[in-house]
Symmetry: C2
Subunit: 138 residues, 2 copies
């Protein structure tokens, strides 16, 4: 994980600190803690489509946590308002799912999230059936 | 694009500066300039598989440039040895392809690249035929 020499200055890397706390929360499968960093009006663009609002985002994470077996943060960078993360998640259907997530933060809450991952291995596992990680498509 | 107050210190953000120059080069479809930032023994992990060495990496970019119609850098962060980028590329088959790329840099050259993107829209376009962006699978 990369660190900045200005790591200790909250004004400089507020979004990065939120990103780290948010990652720790979902890795621990703590949905309440995860959502404590999320704004009510969050907009999330994921490969399966757009999720609008905290309830839809909560459902996305709850579904994902249900199949999560582990996750490693490869990199996190951020400044006062934005952060970009790369993590390697192990899930029941897909052993190694690389996910990049770009967040914007206002007043300590994540107001937007852009997620990038390859849907292919999840689709191969599903074989056309519904699966939680892809809830944005339903 | 996020900038760091230490932007001017080459020792601090050498990898970020390489990332920016590399992005400018491939966005301009300048394959020679692009490859000037790449180590001979680069290892690239892409959704389609692993690319080993500069010739395979060059072919990947040449194929991608062949269908690239535009690209916008959404975010770039980096330090002295690593950088993480998010860009939104417009291509002939896929209007909006979000790509995250994580690079490691040694002695001014990119020695590893991890790319994350959703293969689904490219596969839908291909309909099973070969396409350049997915050269890693061939």
């Amino acid at each position: 994980m990369s660190t900045s020499p200005l790591n200790g200055d909250p004004a400089f890397d507020a979004a990065k600190q939120i990103a780290l706390a948010y990652c720790r929360a979902w890795t621990a499968k703590d949905i309440e803690k995860t959502m404590s960093y999320v704004a009510e009006d969050i907009v999330c663009d994921a490969p399966g489509g757009r999720l609008q609002g905290a309830p839809a985002f909560r459902q996305f994470w709850a579904d994902f946590m249900g199949m999560l077996t582990g996750s490693q943060l490869i990199a996190v960078f951020g400044d006062e308002a934005t952060a970009l993360m790369l993590y390697d998640s192990a899930t029941i259907p897909v052993e190694r799912a690389l996910v990049a997530e770009y967040i914007t933060v206002q007043d300590g809450k994540i107001t937007s999230s852009t997620m990038v991952f390859d849907q292919t291995p999840f689709a191969n596992y599903r074989g056309g059936a519904q699966a939680g990680f892809n809830a944005a498509q339903t």
